[in-house]
Subunit: 214 residues, 2 copies
DNA sequence: GAGTGGTCTAGACCACTAC
DNA sequence: TAGTGGTCTAGACCACTCA
């Protein structure tokens, strides 16, 4: 008899991968599994819920639990905080504001991020001052807009997107790379319940890679 | 009085974001919160565990629960299965093997993936035949190596990495893009307990973006 | 050793939804 | 409307780790 929910999870995963529970098939309900495996239903629930979160199972009330047709592993990354990215490489992080202007309730910022004094990423950002008016008074030379916002502007939803783009004039100037060089570019927008909070384009210096954990 | 664990979670998040529980600070233990909020300790546990998984809290036995110094939102993506990426865009997926050779227990594959008959991604892959010998007999024109492996080669660990690279000769030839064009390139390796199972380089056609869910 | 989170249990009720 | 997963409860024991 299995004991912990991790054991139950491992046993269920074994049955999925061995096709004992075939893709698309309905598996026994929680009460039945609990009886079979000699544990409480809550324990089975914990195990199956975790497998569903990992994409192995699809669960619906009344309809039961099915093995996912194409098991989707999920990859995770933490939303990048540049300081930590840089310090994680064992380098010294610093940053500098290039420009700052306010226009119709929108704060426009341009900034540069450094790793050991080498340009690491060039940032262009808009911040909605109706949503986070306090940022107008923050000394952004001391704390980067990114860090301040992460800590002070809780958001509900957001988009995050990476693309490969040729270096723009702005990128060339600040990252000191050849015009048209392939750069990894991050675009991110975050929203509160009611409005856009901030939108940012971050161009990384050549050679930057985005790593995800599976 | 709050009722569900989602309410408890929301209340805890409010206290974090309002600095009522300051960054780095110790928060009350589970039993105390359960008393204060009028629910069972298990309910508090569920809420705080979820917040810890999202990076808002750091929990350690005996040491208690602290507010994370820099709240890390996590972004997720499903490990790309090209068919679903393409079909999710409302296009027809197809693929074609370009080359296939076996060398010292390593299956070398080159392939192309299409969206509505336009090249979508070009793949170069090695598969370790000691780990998944069955793949030697699979008709990879019918099911792509990617799909077959996802379903048949459960793996333990893996790396997943995106970079912006200039189009190589291989990319230029098959994606029909200009030499040196900035391409999004995915590199992925997966391992079983004991050995590498497969390694792949996937170059996406120009304009491809990687979207993550926050 | 003692305090904290981690988990299990048995039972209960609820929410959703296929039938 | 009945069956399924989702959740809550109260209590208990365990595992880890700080002092």
């Amino acid at each position: 008899m299995k004991r912990g929910w991790l054991d139950i999870q491992a046993e269920a995963l074994r049955r999925i991968q061995s096709r004992e529970w075939p893709p698309g098939g309905l598996i026994p309900n929680e009460a039945e599994l609990a009886r079979e495996l000699g544990c409480a239903r809550a324990t089975v629930n914990r195990a199956l819920r975790a497998l569903a979160e990992d994409g192995w199972l699809e669960r619906r009330r009344r309809a039961g639990t099915r093995v996912a047709l194409s098991p989707q592993r999920r990859a995770q990354m933490s939303v990048p905080v540049l300081r930590q990215e840089v310090e994680g490489m064992g380098k010294v992080y610093s940053h500098r504001i290039i420009s700052r202007r306010i226009e119709a309730d929108l704060l426009h910022l341009e900034g540069l991020h450094f790793a050991d004094k080498a340009p690491f990423a060039a940032e262009q950002r808009q911040v909605n001052l109706s949503e986070v008016p306090q940022i107008a008074d923050v000394d952004l030379d001391r704390i980067s807009a990114n860090e301040w916002l992460v800590q002070n502007a809780p958001f509900d939803r957001g988009t995050l997107e990476y693309a490969a783009e040729p270096a723009s004039a702005f990128d060339v100037k600040h990252l000191k790379c050849p015009r048209g060089a392939p750069l990894m570019v991050l675009r991110r927008e975050t929203f509160s319940e009611t409005a856009m909070v901030t939108a940012v384009r971050m161009a990384y210096a050549p050679g930057h890679a985005v790593r995800l954990v599976i």
